[in-house]
């Protein structure tokens, strides 16, 4: 692997047999998809396809491999919203703690 090739650019690399896998999309995955679609529409224009792609690539090789598709998407969309000052780190931190507290003390 050369440093000139970025980790997401995988055409032609060795890989395993295709697992003929699929799953019904979970509600939270559909919400991520819908949030992205709304943020990209002509009225809001907050996230272009290429900004999303760039933000996903920039999660880094480790996260890219470990996260599933919509985990990458929500991470990337959130980072763009932080960059654009639509959301702040502090309000996200507080809101996430609030949601976590509401769901009880179950470990994540």
């Amino acid at each position: 692997m050369t440093d000139r090739r970025r980790h997401h650019d995988m055409g032609g690399l060795e890989a395993g047999p295709i697992q003929n896998s699929e799953h019904a999309h979970e509600p939270w995955e559909k919400r991520v998809d819908a949030i992205k679609a709304l943020l990209s529409d002509d009225r809001r224009k907050l996230v272009t396809t290429d900004e999303l792609r760039r933000s996903i690539e920039n999660l880094g090789a480790d996260a890219y491999e470990r996260y599933n598709y919509y985990e990458r998407w929500i991470s990337a969309v959130t980072n763009i919203l932080l960059e654009k000052d639509v959301l702040s780190v502090d309000e996200l931190g507080k809101k996430m703690a609030e949601i976590e507290a509401r769901q009880g003390n179950r470990a994540l």
């Binding site: 970025r6 055409g11 032609g12 290429d50 900004e51 792609r53 760039r54 690539e57």
Partner: protein, 95 residues
């Protein structure tokens, strides 16, 4: 901006390796192919990716490559091909 290439023209993909957001796959850089379709004019994804929405548009093409030209040990038929969308600034004339 008028299109520099026409359908049927042989082209060479620049062998460049910039960091940042690029839509030209690694495996076709430095390879030669043929223009098979003019797709229209589009803003540069390398700028759109960083929030620059108002840049100029430029031509984008579909380029057809022979599989044997892309991979050292291609196992299929010599007639097999790959087609990729490539923005004009990644293409050079084959002299």
């Amino acid at each position: 901006m008028s299109a520099q290439f026409s359908v049927g023209d042989p082209v060479h993909v620049r062998a460049a390796y910039p960091p940042g957001h690029v839509r030209t796959p690694y495996y076709c850089r430095g390879k030669s192919g043929v223009i098979v379709r003019f797709c229209g004019e589009f803003r540069n994804p390398e700028e759109l990716a960083y929030g620059k929405y108002e840049g100029p548009v430029s031509p984008m093409y579909r380029v057809r490559f022979q599989q044997n030209d892309l991979w050292d040990n291609y196992s299929g038929s010599p007639d097999d091909h790959v087609e990729i969308e490539i923005y004009e600034h990644w293409l050079e004339q084959v002299i």
